[in-house]
């Protein structure tokens, strides 16, 4: 169950839960994760998301991606997880 669609769906649920914004449960893949446009994650909510990602998928994004470029959008994060998930 680490297909790209399943990862995307799980990330949407995490985002909606962490930010308290229900509409993110239907966010398109090109939704920006950081900054004021898009999901608007900050250091607190971003850390919560990365912690949940590590717990759920076994991928330590912060350790493997110094710049956190993988957080550019919902889709890029899903792709990063799919590529790094332990098989």
């Amino acid at each position: 169950m680490t297909g790209a669609d399943a990862i995307l769906a799980a990330l949407r649920d995490m985002l909606a839960g962490i930010t308290g914004r229900a509409e993110l449960a239907a966010a398109p893949p090109d939704t920006a994760l950081l900054g004021p446009d898009g999901a608007g994650l900050d250091s607190l909510t971003g850390t919560l998301l990365l912690t949940e990602v590590q717990h759920r998928f076994g991928v330590d994004v912060a350790a493997e991606d110094l710049s956190l470029d993988s957080l550019a959008s919902l889709g890029t994060l899903a792709g990063f997880i799919a590529a790094h998930a332990p098989r």
Partner: protein, 374 residues
């Protein structure tokens, strides 16, 4: 250094058992409450971990008149309760002491959280004399720390009930971030921040007051502070950033009559130090500091902002703030040699990160009076 003491309730802070005391609830242990009050004055915060209903924590807070930063009441393992408090306060396990009269509970916490300092009530009575409980620096923010964490707990309870986005909650709470140039009076607090924070610092170690004073007076460096307040309370000075403007050659050049000497170096501002109190997490302070710095650097003609950041397991939140402000690691995405900082950089042409609408940049403090503290 101990930052937080987690107390058991029954036969520890209370002279009896909350649930077994019938109509006459047990009195607080006057000696330990006095110890806790002394530690509170030193900026060490308190929390509760108890196998009791939540009302027991309210009762203890009322009869002891102590501010508690967190309370975990329930029937699970104490080590898990202490772990939740550590996560909630965003502090290291090695900065926490746990006090319980029950030997089994002490053993369970010691086994589950080996970094935590585990004490009996008798040990705790002597703790104020131990070096771990004597902070080297004590500022106004430090003395009020217990109260500030208690305010933070109220704020978080309201934020959970609020339901809207974070930004809407920050506006609703009347959040105000004030960015201003540091003055000499700010240096002890900036030094304290650099000593205490591990999650929100770019540097490997603390900056001394002498170092900070040198930068403040140099003319070459900009040192900005962030103050934070809302209707729950005034957190005072919670963050700072130091930028090397690379203009050292300007003054020397002017004195020597070689004004053009520095022209080639004005290209980038470099940040060797960015710190924030973990208490301020999630309230837009780092975003405001980085946005203010980008604006100032661009206004001074710089074309690039560089932040030197040591990458550790613990400063992920800081790296998220750097990424949110558009800063990217310039090396390939792999860790540099141990101890070497990674350069995070962004261009200053085009759109700059915006200051959150609850933040303001002031030329000098003193112009703004409310929320200011000496």
């Amino acid at each position: 250094m101990i930052k937080c003491v987690v107390w058991d309730i029954d036969n520890t802070l209370l002279t009896g058992t909350y649930l077994e005391s019938g109509e006459q609830l047990p009195a607080p242990d006057a000696g330990l409450v006095e110890v806790a009050r002394e530690l509170d004055q030193r900026g060490i915060v308190h929390a509760l971990a108890s196998k009791n209903p939540p009302e027991a924590a309210d009762y203890v807070a009322r009869v002891t008149q102590l501010p508690f930063a967190a309370a975990e009441c329930g029937w699970g393992r104490k080590s898990e309760a202490v772990r939740r408090i550590i996560d909630d306060l965003a502090i290291g396990a090695d900065t926490v002491a746990f006090v319980d009269d029950d030997l089994m509970e002490r053993a369970e916490v010691a086994a589950g959280l080996p970094e935590v300092l585990v004490l009996s009530p008798e040990d705790a009575a002597e703790a104020p004399q131990w070096p771990e409980f004597r902070p080297a620096v004590l500022t106004d923010e430090g003395r009020r720390r217990g109260q500030l964490y208690a305010q933070r707990r109220l704020r978080q309870e309201e934020a959970r009930a609020f339901g809207g986005s974070r930004d809407n909650f920050l506006r609703y709470a009347g959040t105000r971030v004030q960015i201003s140039p540091a003055t000499a009076a700010d240096l002890p607090r900036l030094h304290e921040l650099s000593v205490r924070t591990h999650q929100f610092t770019t540097a490997a170690g603390p900056a001394s007051e002498a170092d900070l004073a040198g930068w403040l007076d140099s003319g070459r460096y900009r040192l900005l502070t962030a103050r934070l307040s809302d209707r729950f309370g005034d957190d005072g000075l919670v963050g700072g950033v130091l930028a090397d403007t690379g203009e050292s050659a300007v003054r020397a050049g002017v004195e020597a009559g070689e004004a053009g000497a520095a022209a080639g170096e004005a290209g980038s501002w470099t940040v060797p130090l960015l710190v924030m109190s973990c208490r301020a997490m999630g309230r837009g302070v780092l975003d405001a500091l980085l946005a203010a710095l980008c604006q100032q650097a661009a206004a001074a003609g710089a074309t690039e902002l560089r932040v030197l950041c040591r990458v550790t397991e613990r400063n992920v939140p800081l790296r998220l703030a750097l990424a949110a402000a558009g800063l990217r690691a310039s090396q390939a995405s792999q860790a540099p040699p141990v101890g070497e900082p990674v350069v995070f950089a962004r261009s200053l042409s085009g759109a700059l990160p915006a200051l959150p609408d609850w933040a303001e940049l002031t030329a000098a403090r003193g112009a703004a009076t409310s929320g200011g503290r000496s």
